[in-house]
């Protein structure tokens, strides 16, 4: 008994945080959301982060989306002063020594249009030229930056026809029709503008709840393959449902070979757009059991991840929400049905007092089970005055997955912050997943994994018949499954490489189901390597 107690005490004292949180040399970004007394809703919503290797040097670079300047009150026409360098989005190129260099200007990413207040970012190689392209969402117009392959980008929005409009939030590239070309999905929050902003709250002036403003539609762009996109929102059935969408994630939830879309809606039912395989989608969240809480209550869905948390091979959904709602974990039962499992998995205890945004399921301790990371912070910047048990600044939640049950662990974050976007990837190529979290009014927090002794495998997909990065592929390694995507979380885009913790295993069996339908198996793959797998040219 005493021995056990001593062990617990010693273990607690010795347990090191999961990450070392630092700001690497060269990153001097501040997410300027410009809060005003008007409580314009956009102020509390940015901003995204992307982890991508834009110059193919093997090192992940960081792209950060900035908000903009808001005047108090705003004048017409709206001007967010994005020409001012303080409000630029920023691209930081990683150097060999782990430091970063701001390459925003030389990459052609400076400024972002004075009428655009920045929100999120999506990453995908839409023209299959081997270089990742960037899509930046805004309140205003969105921008598609084509990666020229020489360290620079070109704004091709007008030609591509993907400017959107209104208030776009998260976006993601995926291939919904399996034609080998990445299509684009854009979530939009609501019909809102600064002229029609409202004042909410009683004694304390607060941001209004989403129900105060009309819902709106999301956008689906089909890639024609000639550098242009077609808006198929109506034809595909996506625009048949109006929502208040924030996060979006992709996976093939029923294993029919077509990628489905999960949309996190704020203050209402969530959407699961089932891909019918004929270019159309049917929204089926309610009938599939993933649209509401188990008590039939609406959710304040913000971020979302669509990955397999319990290693049964099927993608599950975790939606981050406001306090008192509990982050929703919808377990994929495999028969076109989901079960709510937030309570049994420990998410109830972990999340009921927190406001979650960016979210990831990543195997941070390389034990073969995907762990949880959630960027957190309440929507209202004065929430403590209304309810002292809630906080605008929160620590992120990190939780280790023990056979399908999540247990809180110390993230190592030095201070609470208004966390928003979160992206995941192996920044220092050590085989251990890292994370980057954006913070309103401050610099990003970069979580470098302290590592350990477990084995790992990182796979890069090289599609030939499928899209070049194999987005949409289902990859199974030693009983774990990942769905290849850069999307998910909130406003953010993660490393396209697929990371697997192998535990004590020194070899792995890799099974890939490519979007083209090709199946590929690799046996006895050595652990602890970055492996590129090329899709067979013939099935």
């Amino acid at each position: 008994m005493l021995k056990n107690l001593l062990y617990v005490v010693m273990f607690s004292a010795l347990a090191a945080p999961l990450f070392e949180v630092k700001l690497p040399r060269g990153i001097d970004f501040t997410l300027r959301n410009s809060p005003t007394s008007q409580k314009y809703l956009i102020e509390t919503m940015p901003g995204g982060v992307a982890l991508l290797d834009y110059n193919n040097d093997g090192l992940l670079d960081i792209f950060l989306v900035n908000g903009g300047q808001l005047s108090d009150p705003m004048k017409t026409p709206e001007n967010f002063e994005r020409h001012d360098p303080r409000y630029w989005n920023r691209l930081y190129r990683q150097n060999r020594d782990g430091s970063f260099t701001d390459v925003t200007e030389e990459a052609g990413l400076a400024k972002a249009g004075d009428g655009n207040y920045g929100m999120g970012v999506a990453v995908g190689d839409y023209d299959n030229d081997g270089y990742p392209d960037l899509y930046v969402t805004s309140y205003g117009k969105n921008i598609l930056y084509h990666n020229n392959g020489n360290g620079s980008f070109t704004d091709v929005t007008a030609k591509a026809g993907v400017g959107g409009g209104g208030w776009s939030v998260s976006a993601g590239f995926f291939d919904y029709d399996n034609d080998g070309k990445l299509d684009l999905f854009v979530t939009r929050y609501m019909e809102w503008d600064t002229k029609h902003s409202k004042s909410c709250g009683g004694e304390w002036h607060t941001y209004c709840p989403p129900e105060e403003f009309p819902a709106t539609t999301n956008i689906l762009y089909r890639n024609r393959g000639d550098g242009t996109f077609e808006d198929v929102s109506q034809r595909s059935g996506i625009a048949s449902k109006k929502g208040r969408a924030l996060g979006v994630a992709f996976a093939d939830c029923d294993d029919d070979g077509f990628t489905d879309i999960y949309v996190a809606n704020d203050g209402m039912q969530q959407f699961l757009f089932h891909n019918n395989g004929d270019g159309t989608f049917t929204e089926r969240a309610l009938e599939m059991g993933s649209g509401l809480s188990p008590d039939g209550r609406r959710l304040s869905g913000m971020g979302v991840v669509f990955q397999d948390y319990d290693n049964d091979g099927r993608p599950d959904v975790i939606v981050t929400e406001l306090p008192r709602e509990i982050y929703g974990l919808y377990h994929n039962d495999g028969n076109g049905s989901f079960s709510y499992r937030s309570l049994e998995t420990g998410l109830g205890v972990l999340s009921s007092g927190s406001s979650g945004w960016g979210v990831g399921l990543e195997d941070f301790d390389n034990d073969g089970w995907k762990d949880l990371f959630v960027a957190q912070g309440h929507v209202l910047d004065n929430v403590e005055k209304i309810d002292s048990s809630l906080h605008y600044w929160e620590l992120p939640t990190t939780a280790i997955n023990h056979n399908g049950r999540f247990e809180r662990t110390d993230s190592g974050s030095p201070s609470a912050a208004a966390g928003r976007g979160a992206a995941f990837g192996d920044l220092n190529n050590d085989g251990w997943q890292d994370a980057v979290m954006t913070v309103l009014g401050g610099p990003p927090q970069i979580f470098l994994n302290r590592g350990g002794k477990q084995h790992w495998l990182v796979i890069s997909l090289r599609g030939t018949r499928s899209n070049r990065d194999g987005l949409g592929a289902r990859v199974r390694v030693n009983g774990q499954t990942r769905f290849a995507t850069t999307a998910g979380s909130y406003l953010s885009a993660s490393d396209k490489r697929l990371h697997f913790g192998l535990g004590a295993a020194e070899t792995a069996k890799v099974e890939i189901a490519w979007p083209s339908g090709t199946r590929q198996i690799l046996n006895d793959v050595h652990a602890d390597q970055f492996l590129e797998v090329r899709e067979p040219e013939k099935p």
Partner: protein
């Protein structure tokens, strides 16, 4: 009604034809809501018949229709002087005085008129809270669901409660009960850190006081601090093993923590202590569902719907049943329950809309 009475009464008296004419004209104007004309007629009547009580009552009543209580007071006072046993005169005078804030002066008149509701209101104003509660309860027994009476009874009870608490805090400021009262006050005001502190102070002084652990548990549950809430509810359940609420709260907290088996046992205990409680049955069915006992879950939720019909909890039970049937492949049943859920949700949304 007063006018009908007065006409009958007048029949027994001898008044001049001219006075009778003014009386009839006044009553007619009053009926047509021409109060100024009525007042003029009743004034002439009181000049012609200065000892006729009915004239003064009618004049006072007409002023009161105009909400001119100050002008109503002198003729009504005169009516009471002329006919001290005239209940209607006392009633109107009592109302007129109360409306002007002269609660103390109004009370004897309202007592004479047996006007318990207004008397209770006047007694609140004069601090006779216990009498006020008694009178308002009596008035409510005659006019159940009267919103004004319900409001004043609540106010009187609240003030009475506050009076007791103030006395407690003045006399025994460091007692467990004083801390408990403070804690409850903070809880209502949603000042949870202060409420927590006061509950702890009370518990330190009298750890075996019933409800203290329960109330502190509610503070923690409200802040989603489930582990602390469990500790407190467990302590309350140990202290009061016969308390269904303690068992329910503990069971529900265990459910939030994902301790499903324990939760189910505790909720079953709550159900045994106080059967047919919809909240307990709902949570019990939820626990059964999480344990894979779909039959028990179905039975529980069906029972909730039977008890609750169209409440929010019934809507939740319909939704839970829809999910349960869907998992079982009972598509038609699932659709039926989902439709019921949506119907109740729409009703609730419409109600919300009409309240805005």
């Amino acid at each position: 009604m007063i006018h009908i009475f007065l006409l009958l009464w007048l029949a027994w008296q001898t008044v001049s034809p001219e006075a009778l004419h003014h009386l009839q004209a006044g009553i007619e104007s009053d009926k047509q809501r021409h109060y100024d004309a009525a007042i003029a007629e009743f004034k002439k009547l009181t000049e012609l018949e200065p000892t006729l009580t009915a004239g003064f009552i009618n004049l006072g009543a007409a002023y009161m229709e105009k909400q001119d209580y100050a002008s109503a007071t002198p003729p009504l006072t005169r009516a009471v002087e002329l006919s001290p046993d005239q209940a209607e005169a006392h009633q109107l005078l009592g109302y007129a005085l109360l409306a002007q804030g002269y609660a103390g002066e109004a009370i004897p008149h309202l007592q004479r008129a047996h006007e318990e509701g207004a008397l209770g209101v006047a007694q609140i104003e004069t601090g006779q809270l216990q009498d006020a509660v008694v009178n308002l309860q009596a008035a409510l027994a005659k006019r159940p669901n009267d919103p004004d009476l319900l409001y004043y009874l609540g106010r009187a009870s609240g003030l009475l409660s506050k009076q007791s608490i103030d006395m407690l805090q003045a006399a025994y400021p460091d007692s467990a009960r004083a801390h408990q009262a403070m804690a409850e006050n903070y809880f209502v005001l949603r000042q949870m850190p202060q409420a927590e502190k006061e509950f702890h102070a009370a518990l330190q002084l009298r750890p075996d006081t019933p409800h203290l652990h329960l109330e502190l548990g509610l503070v923690y549950a409200g802040a989603s601090q489930w582990e602390k809430a469990e500790e407190e509810f467990r302590a309350e359940a140990k202290l009061q093993p016969g308390s269904a609420e303690a068992a329910y709260r503990l069971g529900n907290t265990l459910l939030q923590e994902g301790k499903v088996r324990e939760a189910r046992a505790e909720l079953q205990r709550a159900d045994g202590l106080k059967p047919e409680m919809p909240e307990t049955l709902y949570a019990l069915a939820k626990a059964a569902s999480l344990e894979g006992d779909w039959s028990a879950a179905e039975k529980g939720w069906v029972k909730v719907i039977g008890l609750e019909k169209a409440s929010d909890l019934a809507a939740q039970a319909h939704f839970a049943l829809a999910n349960l049937y869907r998992k079982q492949g009972k598509t038609a049943e699932a659709e039926r329950e989902m439709q019921e859920f949506q119907k109740l949700q729409n009703t609730a949304t419409n109600a919300e809309g009409s309240n805005k």
